[in-house]
């Protein structure tokens, strides 16, 4: 190991002055280290261990994803249709490119190419901001539709795009807008006061923050490209998973139910796109009770896991509801039952299983986005240090460590994208 060798050679200088504040200690070498190599190795090992903890941190959520996907495959198949693959793919590309610029920045700092290092770190930051901008479009669009975590899930297939709700996009953009204005003021003030270094720092940081709005614009363009037709398709799909759509009524497929329904959706996609939203929404609205044997099969399969008492209750409610539809029980005889069933039905609508998919989606992508934000903070610190030309061929540890962190954040997204957006 490099450390041991370094330790041997360092001991000679070290014993000259045991207090650690050797005069030959370079300014970047902390007092308790003997050599730059020892410092670098320590930092690198520490960073790798930190990354291990990060992987384990995410592993809890990957585990939850695997468990709930295996229990409710049709819910996951249906709900993943709500995610916009185009936006996800763009973000994947943006992050991959940012990892490339980051890796290059590490190399440039080793070669003491100070300007290039700073420029590459700034490009990485720009990509991170574009990623967040696109993410803002994705999130705000879903929130408007009520596609929220289970407890807040309000999506109504008969009215997938309710109007008059809060403008979530504005809320997300507001802090970034404030920050951008603040940095612009900083830029102007530092220019007027002739603070050269501050001006040099403010310039790239302003560009970085403007990139957030580039991301928002990019997201808006891509989203509006296929938004409406997607919306309808989604509506039909989630109903396929949730309430058994009109089309699947005829399909009594047992195991292949999901696959078949998907084919059916694909086949009818052309017509569905052309048809007005209201028509399809009307067919699958919660008011129209479309309960059938097929639907019960799905629910029974989901309820097979006896650990889930919530589903057992739902199953009972659906059974009673089915009985009513078949005339097995009538309203006027079983007043209490009908009231119970109505209440249960309302609960089922609110506590939709689709919500669990979105819970996991928001937890995973949200925690990932928090990591992006943290990365942005650290990268800005790194950018300032690069502009100050702190790094040289003996001291480039911080660039290397932040690079490792950034690659991990990228890597997690590489897993999230197919798991959430692509697997159908």
């Amino acid at each position: 190991m490099a450390t041991t060798d370094a330790g041997h050679s360092a001991t000679a200088d070290h014993s000259a002055d045991s207090h650690g504040h050797d005069h030959d200690h370079p300014s970047y070498l902390a007092h308790h280290f003997d050599t730059p190599e020892q410092q670098f190795d320590s930092g690198k090992l520490g960073m790798w261990i930190f990354l291990v903890t990060e992987v384990l941190f995410f592993s809890g959520m990957f585990c939850a994803y695997a468990i709930y996907r295996s229990w409710r495959p049709d819910v996951f198949e249906g709900c993943s249709q709500f995610l916009n693959t185009k936006l996800g793919a763009i973000n994947t590309g943006v992050l991959l490119f940012s990892s490339f610029t980051m890796a290059w920045a590490v190399r440039a700092s080793q070669l003491e190419q100070h300007k290039k290092t700073a420029a590459l770190i700034a490009s990485t930051l720009c990509c991170a901001m574009i990623f967040l901008g696109v993410k803002a479009i994705e999130y705000s669009h879903k929130w408007t539709m009520g596609l929220l975590p289970a407890g807040l899930f309000t999506y109504d297939p008969s009215n997938p795009h309710p109007v008059g709700g809060p403008n979530y996009l504005a809320y997300i953009c507001a802090p970034f807008a404030v920050a951008t204005v603040g940095i612009f003021i900083w830029l102007v003030v530092s220019f007027l006061r002739g603070a050269k270094f501050q001006f040099e720092c403010a310039k790239p940081i302003l560009v970085v923050f403007l990139c957030f709005f580039v991301g928002v614009g990019l997201g808006t363009i891509l989203e509006s490209g296929g938004s409406e037709s997607h919306g309808t398709e989604h509506a039909a799909h989630v109903e396929g998973g949730e309430h058994d759509s009109h089309a699947e009524g005829e399909h009594a497929g047992e195991g292949e139910h999901a696959a078949e329904s998907h084919e059916q959706e694909a086949a009818t996609e052309e017509t569905a796109e052309a048809a007005p939203t209201e028509a399809i929404a009307g067919l699958v609205a919660p008011g129209t009770m479309v309960s059938s044997d097929n639907e019960l099969d799905v629910i029974k399969r989901l309820a097979a896991d006896t650990t889930n008492t919530g589903l057992q209750g739902e199953l009972a409610a659906r059974q009673a509801q089915n009985d009513m539809a078949n005339g097995a029980i009538t309203y006027h005889v079983y007043d209490d039952v009908s009231a119970t069933v109505a209440a249960a039905e309302e609960n089922v609508m609110r506590k939709s299983r689709a919500g669990v998919f979105f819970s996991i989606y928001y937890c995973m992508t949200g925690v990932h986005a928090i990591h992006i934000l943290a990365g942005i903070g650290v990268l800005i610190w790194l950018l300032v240090r690069a502009l100050r030309q702190d790094f040289n061929k003996n001291y480039f540890g911080p660039v290397d460590y932040v690079g490792l962190y950034w690659h991990l954040v990228d890597l997690i997204w590489i897993y999230l994208f197919p798991l959430m957006y692509l697997i159908r």
């Binding site: 320590s42 090992l45 903890t53 941190f57 809890g60 289970a150 407890g151 669990v356 937890c363």
Partner: protein, 589 residues
């Protein structure tokens, strides 16, 4: 070997470290120099004060539990005073909150950081011969994270308490109106404190070892700390995400753990125990390390089976990850799963037993001095053995069905956590106290405290094995009159245990004022921390230490003339000045 004078044909080899004028306690003054210190020794001392305060609070809560259980219908919290203190709470509600906070504070604020963070911080770099840990600023920040976590727990205590049990099981934890979010946020923050400490120690031990300090020359305390750190780094993040999801479940009903929203509570239990079972080894492994040091030093005999003890620490750390399911035998996991978990649970007993046998073999024919630390160490071996063996009853499926969630479980884990970790912690504090503060305590007082703690502990928890096997469920505020006698015994025992701990505290505090000045090596130990002065100077070693065998006591001898332990070497007939000064690079080869 321990008592006597320098034998004929040998001479004193004084390492000749000059006594520095300043030590780490006096080299800078003022509160701020402590708050912003990057010195691992000061951070260790701050941790020691912090965890002791946490232990005091949680210990008082424990006394509250025992006093309430003094009578079948409850005693303490039925008092008018509590009606005045908390008018809207029934006595049983208060009881629920008290046992929950007792558990949560003991686990998260005391036991987990006690030996690794407080003593580990002080000892790891010094034992290793390094100037500091690899990341001193990270070290300080993990202490402040501990403080922040403690503040959250105090806020939870003052806001509306906590009554979920320290495990925060769903679905109750998502519906109770007590301060679950405050407490889980506290535990989340404390998790990061623990991760950073573990990360720091792993890197320190890997990259900061001075020349000559090979892996197998490390004191066993460092091996134990290393294994503990592995668990801290690998298990704690999972607790972090679990608690985060629990907070999200409470605030947004994400439906992952809450059955009302299609979630699954058993998933929560799996997630929780995936951390919390390894966490049990975070609590006990450092104690193993301490006992390895104490037994060897106070028996003045080389540790028996060094490599076996070292490897068994790593084995326990790794096996600890495979046995979490034994907390859930009755949760409905399926018979095959429970059988596998049960079988894996038994494998942990092998490395644990290896350690106990090795300690006993070390004591055999050793020159045992019954100092205070040794009294605690022997108490540890006795109590931990009972705790470990009763664990096998609980790992056995058939008996666990009967014993699950009874006082048997309570007694079992208290024998491991208190009889094991707390007793080892006390032993360690008494052992390293002279090094930390440069003062000797009253030996007789220390021994008396060890005896009272031992008796009080057994009086408290032995009856609980009987209670549990007769069917007394844990966590109940009231009980059938048939259990009254054993419960009363347990309560008297708790009071006695409290007195013993108080005696220990008084002995230690008095020593700060009245104690004799401690020599560099009061016990005749061979590890590096005893090579520097007591208390150590700011940079630990005035000159790089000579790394030798940590368990070679043959050349350490009590010198009656100077009343201290000295290193001796055979008298040399030749002119000694010919031999060049030992270069640290070749030291100990």
């Amino acid at each position: 070997m321990s008592v006597g004078s320098v034998p004929a044909g040998y001479e004193v080899k004084d390492p000749g470290y000059p006594t520095p004028e300043e030590n780490y306690l006096t080299n800078s003054r003022g509160l701020l120099t402590w708050v912003f210190t990057l010195d691992h020794k000061r951070i260790g001392v701050m941790y020691l004060v912090g965890v002791s305060l946490a232990f005091l609070i949680a210990g008082l809560l424990a006394l509250g539990i025992r006093l309430h259980l003094f009578a079948p219908d409850g005693w303490l919290f039925n008092n008018e005073f509590f009606k005045w203190l908390a008018p809207d709470k029934a006595p049983n509600d208060i009881y629920n909150q008290v046992f929950t906070l007792h558990g949560a504070i003991m686990v998260f604020l005391f036991i987990i950081p006690s030996i690794p963070a407080a003593l580990g911080n002080f000892l790891v770099p010094v034992m290793l011969g390094a100037k500091d840990v690899a990341f001193p600023r990270l070290n300080l920040s993990s202490f402040f994270l501990w403080v922040a976590g403690a503040v959250f727990f105090v806020m939870a205590l003052l806001a509306s308490g906590l009554d979920t049990g320290w495990t925060f099981y769903t679905p109750y934890s998502t519906t109770t109106d007590t301060s679950v979010i405050l407490a889980t946020s506290g535990a989340f923050i404390l998790g990061f404190s623990s991760i950073f400490t573990g990360l720091n120690f792993i890197v320190t031990i890997n990259t900061m070892r001075p020349p000559g300090m090979t892996w197998f020359r490390m004191p066993l305390f460092l091996w134990a700390t290393y294994s503990t750190s592995i668990i801290q780094v690998l298990a704690t993040p999972v607790l972090g995400i679990t608690l985060l999801l629990l907070i999200a479940e409470r605030t947004m009903h994400i439906g992952i753990f809450d059955p009302e929203y299609n979630g699954d509570p058993v998933t929560y239990q799996h997630f929780f125990w995936f951390y919390s079972h390894p966490a049990v080894y975070i609590m006990i492994l450092p104690a193993f390390g301490v006992i390895s040091e104490l037994i060897s030093v106070h028996s003045h005999k080389r540790i028996f089976g060094y490599r076996f003890i070292a490897y068994s620490s790593i084995a326990i750390a790794l096996l600890g990850f495979l046995v979490w399911g034994h907390h859930m035998f009755t949760a409905g996991m399926g018979s095959m799963t429970t059988i596998i978990f049960s079988a894996l649970t038994f494998t942990v007993s092998v490395p644990s037993a290896i350690k106990v046998f090795n300690w006993l073999a070390t004591m055999y024919k050793g020159a045992i001095t019954m100092t205070t630390p040794m009294c605690y160490a022997i108490a540890f071996i006795f109590l931990f053995t009972i705790g470990g063996l009763t664990g096998l009853h609980l790992g056995t499926l058939a008996t666990d069905m009967h014993l699950h969630d009874t006082y048997f479980v309570v007694a079992h884990f208290h024998y491991v956590m208190v009889g094991g970790t707390l007793v080892a912690f006390l032993g360690a504090v008494f052992h390293w106290w002279p090094k930390m503060f440069g003062r000797m305590y009253n030996e007789l007082g220390g021994q008396i405290s060890a005896v009272i703690v031992f008796l009080g502990f057994n009086l408290t928890f032995l009856p609980q094995f009987v209670l549990g096997s007769r069917g007394m469920p844990r966590r109940y505020a009231t009980y059938d009159p048939e259990f009254a006698g054993l419960h009363a015994m347990s309560t008297w025992g708790a009071l006695l245990l409290g007195i013993g701990l108080l005696v220990a505290l008084v002995v230690l505090l008095v020593s700060l004022v009245k104690g004799k000045k401690a020599p560099a090596n009061p016990w005749g130990a061979a590890t590096l921390e005893w090579a520097c002065t007591s208390p150590p100077p700011f940079y630990n070693f005035e000159r790089p230490p000579v790394v030798g065998d940590p368990y070679e006591f043959g050349d350490i001898q009590w010198d009656a003339a100077s009343e201290r332990y000295v290193k001796i070497e055979p008298k040399r007939e030749t002119v000694p000045s010919e031999k060049p000064a030992e270069s640290p690079a070749h030291a100990g080869e």
